[in-house]
């Protein structure tokens, strides 16, 4: 009892949890739901890494905050690039007078001005395997001479890496001008330049900090790193020397009411504190008591917070909580290894179709996602220009009668003669429970399914070695373009590339080659339609879902339009003055 009294006493002194430095300042408390790995943009390996990096670092392009569907706008570039007639040469002018954050790595400690050479250096860092770049693929086989440069340098070893060796297709053609020459037209280049991997870092700092560089962050962004308490939190302060940038005055019709701060200088926040959570319960409770200003809603709490029509329940509305249901450009699927003798290839098509028909994606959506996912059939999720609503695949389950008929056609009536199939999936979340449900569905048509749970690296190793017979994975869009999804089935991308299915269909590949150089538009969409039909018939993957992410925040936050395609939007968030 005395102990409890003592605790209560201690707590009454300290429980209103607000640090002294926060007094009179606009401080927002956000959450990340996993430990942060790195602050080095080219090593980013999770959306959370990327989110924090995006507040500190910037790239050439980004997306318009209040415009949907997505539209690019210049960030560190002055304007959209000039593209040559043949679509191969991009000339990008860079904003003048942009300063890096002050840091001891610069002579005198004052941040230097950004120049075009910085981009040349930053992109070249991805060619150095010593940096463990996770994003080299965005430039691989794209930029003239870059692959060759990467090969030459990696043969030389780490010490002899020559940063000044020229790359034909990547050079600063002026102090503020960058020129990129492509191997073949790549309409998605600007999307790639808007990704976190393409953020600009100053060479002095990367070299000064060397192997410790991923623990610091010196960029041009609206916020700068104050402290990073590993595994606990990260504090970012407003960058006092941030260039003059303003809240947008352009918005899609549905976001017109968010223009209240139009034309005001950003960023509004004096500081951002990111808290690290390894469990859902404390994160949710912290949000409920108001210590966190914004959070993603963990799926388990969905029913308690939302009505069936996905509007916020009254108690939460009354408590001043706001929400935005963000449809993700997401491709959750179960796939087959098309080289596997039992499930792969043209001859086992009926078996794959039968499995797809036995599987009830709706039930999964209901049990695990509270019916918040969108079901779709070809790998282009809703929200992209080539998505076609309302057309369903003839092999979307559940239809046990047809599934059983197809099992007969496949040569396995009621599953007789079919060996046990093996599904490889990664651990975490409720993937195990989902696998239970899947195995139960397949039992209905006589297919015995074993499940193997892997760590993520075990699973990706198996995929790279073509060792996984069936697998469950999620692919998040790198950029808002259907090409990012359709390339997953392109023959030459087979493992160890991104085509985990090892799907090889000459007709599909020919169409892909044809679509590669096309700009988004009706012509390209027509080609994509044909590709989509091929995939639906061949069933290399099935049970496709696109998730919805539920963002919640307390009413004192203003100008919030959550998005995960780009993360730099926290600079637009404002906090209502407290009285």
């Amino acid at each position: 009892m005395a102990l409890l009294a003592l605790c209560a006493l201690l707590c009454s002194v300290s429980c209103k949890h607000k640090a002294a430095w926060e007094e009179g300042k606009k401080v927002a408390h956000f959450s990340v739901r996993a430990k942060l790995g790195t602050l080095d943009p080219i090593r980013s390996s999770s959306t959370y890494d990327n989110e924090v990096q995006s507040q500190v670092y910037e790239g050439l392009y980004t997306y318009k905050y209040l415009v949907r569907p997505y539209q690019l706008e210049p960030l560190l570039a002055k304007a959209l690039p000039t593209v040559s007639e043949d679509g191969l040469t991009y000339t990008i002018d860079i904003r003048e007078g942009v300063l890096f954050h002050d840091d001891e790595c610069f002579p005198g400690g004052a941040g230097r001005e950004l120049v075009a050479k910085d981009f040349e250096y930053s992109f070249k860092r991805m060619a150095d395997a010593h940096n463990q770049p996770t994003g080299w693929w965005i430039f691989q086989d794209r930029i003239a001479g870059f692959d060759d440069f990467q090969k030459r340098m990696s043969e030389r070893g780490d010490a002899a890496f020559d940063w000044d060796a020229p790359v034909e297709g990547l050079k600063a053609s002026g102090k503020y001008q960058l020129q990129i020459k492509l191997v073949r037209p790549f309409p998605q280049l600007l999307y790639v330049l808007a990704m976190g991997y393409s953020f600009v870092v100053p060479r002095e700092c990367a070299e000064y900090y060397g192997d410790r560089f991923s623990n610091t962050a010196i960029g041009t962004g609206p916020f700068m790193l104050r402290t990073w308490t590993r595994g606990s939190r990260i504090i970012l302060d407003k960058n006092p020397s941030y260039r003059d940038a303003y809240y947008p005055s352009e918005a899609s019709p549905e976001f017109q009411d968010m223009l209240g701060d139009a034309g005001k200088k950003i960023p509004f926040l004096d500081a951002i504190v990111y808290h690290v959570y390894e469990q859902d319960q404390p994160m949710w409770l912290k949000f409920r008591v108001g210590d966190l200003d914004m959070t993603q809603l963990p799926a388990e709490y969905h029913e308690a917070v939302f009505n069936k029509d996905l509007t916020l329940r009254k108690t939460f509305v009354d408590a001043g909580i706001r929400n935005y249901n963000l449809p993700l450009l997401d491709f959750i699927y179960r796939g087959f290894n098309m080289e596997d003798p039992v499930v792969g290839g043209e001859k086992n098509k009926y078996l794959r179709q039968a499995i797809s028909l036995a599987w009830d994606t709706k039930e999964l959506n209901d049990a695990f996602y509270n019916n918040t996912c969108v079901l779709y059939d070809a790998p282009v999720p809703p929200g992209l220009d080539s998505y076609v609503a309302g057309v369903t695949s003839p092999y979307r389950g559940p239809d046990l009668e047809r599934a059983k008929a197809l099992m007969v056609k496949a040569g396995y009536p009621e599953g007789k003669g079919l060996p046990h199939l093996l599904l490889e999936t990664s651990s975490g979340g409720n993937t195990e429970e989902q696998a239970e449900m899947f195995a139960r569905a397949l039992k209905e048509i006589g297919v015995q399914l074993d499940v193997n749970i892997n760590s993520f690296s075990e699973l990706s190793t198996k995929l790279k070695k073509k060792k996984a017979q069936m697998f469950g994975l999620a692919w998040g869009a790198d950029y808002p373009d259907a090409e990012n999804f359709l390339q997953l089935f392109y023959g030459p991308n087979e493992a160890p590339g991104s085509n985990n299915f090892n799907y090889k269909n000459p007709a599909y590949d020919a169409l892909y080659d044809q679509s590669r150089t096309l700009q988004p538009g009706p012509e390209r969409t027509a080609v994509y339609q044909k590709m989509r039909e091929i995939l639906i018939e061949d069933v290399p993957s099935f049970g496709h879902l696109a998730r919805t992410r539920f963002y919640l925040w307390h009413g004192r936050l203003k100008n919030v339009l959550p998005d995960e395609t780009f993360d730099g939007w926290r600079k637009y968030v404002n906090i209502e003055e407290q009285d």
């Binding site: 102990l3 605790c7 209560a8 201690l10 707590c11 300290s14 429980c15 949890h17 430990k35 790995g37 790195t38 390996s45 395997a129 010593h130 463990q132 770049p133 996770t134 994003g135 080299w136 693929w137 691989q140 090969k151 990696s154 780490d158 192997d211 410790r212 560089f213 991923s214 623990n215 308490t229 590993r230 595994g231 606990s232 939190r233 808290h275 690290v276 959570y277 390894e278 469990q279 319960q281 404390p282 994160m283 409770l285 912290k286 409920r288 008591v289 210590d291 760590s455 993520f456 690296s457 990706s460 190793t461 790279k464 160890p496 590339g497 991104s498």
Partner: protein, 311 residues
């Protein structure tokens, strides 16, 4: 005394070797290179090969093992592959946080358990004894996870007495966050200790000199506190000393749910992300700690009972 200590320390060497070998077997032989986890979803074969070369996975197993032994010998485990920070920094930071959770918990648990055990032993066989023992046994029969989930919800949210989650590095600031996890640890650990100490006390009470003390007319309370407690000190201290390594390994679940970046969560994170340098360093250091605490325990016995040295 010194030759004895030296002998015991030398005896620790093969154990560290055994641990080193087991960990090596688990990581390098059975698991193999984790390059794919570090190079991302679009890693090329050349990148993976480069990773293997940089981290010695292209060498033969004996060579790899010797390299690991070298790290153990020099106590230099290099940098974490995940965070690029010196492994020693990461461990020393984490250890401080784990200890500020586990040490107060151990002290409190021991105090509470000894008191309860004394009361139970004093009233042995009566209803108070039964009551205490039943509470102790019920307390230890519920899963740790359930305690955490329920108490965090009840005592930090529904009745906001404590902090839900978080950590401040400052020495005084950290305690507001630590009280609830410490309390949970005490509740969970109390059952075992109370039962153990009670049996120690009951055994002491049965001994000859206690009976003699009674015969000499000492009061029951005096006998209990002076004679019994004094003699029971040895098993109490032994039990506390055995717990020393666990102070550093921390409590994984508590650290995860309350956001304390200690060794428990570091261990899980490094296993999850295949951060070999951290796993290798942690396993060797913790096993050394085990050995040192055993030796301290033996020395303690040797001091208390000089006959031990002759063995």
């Amino acid at each position: 005394m010194w030759p004895y200590i030296l002998r015991r320390l030398l005896w620790g060497i093969p154990i560290v070797l055994g641990v080193t070998f087991t960990v090596f077997l688990g990581l390098h032989v059975m698991k193999g290179s984790p390059g794919a986890a570090f190079m991302g979803k679009a890693a090329t074969v050349e990148q993976l090969e480069k990773f293997d070369r940089d981290h010695g996975f292209d060498k033969s197993y004996p060579e790899q093992f010797v390299a690991y032994l070298g790290e153990v010998f020099t106590m230099d485990f290099g940098r974490s592959w995940k965070t690029d920070r010196p492994v020693s920094d990461m461990i020393s930071e984490g250890a401080g946080k784990s200890i500020s959770l586990t040490l107060p918990a151990l002290v409190l648990t021991t105090l509470v358990a000894v008191c309860l055990a004394l009361i139970a032993a004093y009233f042995r066989g009566r209803s108070l004894d039964r009551g205490i023992m039943i509470v102790a046994v019920v307390g230890m029969s519920v899963s740790f996870l359930v305690y955490i989930v329920v108490l965090q919800y009840l005592l930090a949210f529904l009745f906001p007495i404590f902090q839900i989650h978080g950590y401040e590095p400052g020495f005084w600031e950290r305690w507001q966050f630590l009280i609830l996890p410490i309390l949970i640890q005490v509740v969970v650990g109390m059952g075992y200790d109370t039962r153990f100490y009670r049996s120690v006390f009951v055994e002491e009470i049965g001994k000859d000199h206690i009976t003699t003390a009674y015969a000499k007319g000492a009061s029951q309370k005096r006998v209990m506190f002076v004679h019994v407690l004094k003699n029971a000190l040895i098993p109490i201290i032994t039990r506390v000393m055995i717990s020393i390594p666990f102070l550093v390994t921390g409590s994984l679940l508590l650290e995860q749910f309350f956001g304390i970046p200690g060794i428990g969560s570091l261990m899980l994170a490094s296993l999850d992300t295949d951060d070999f340098p951290v796993i290798k360093a942690l396993s060797v250091l913790i096993s050394m700690l085990f050995i040192v605490s055993t030796i301290l325990n033996d020395i303690f016995y040797a001091v208390v009972d000089p006959r031990v040295r002759l063995k």
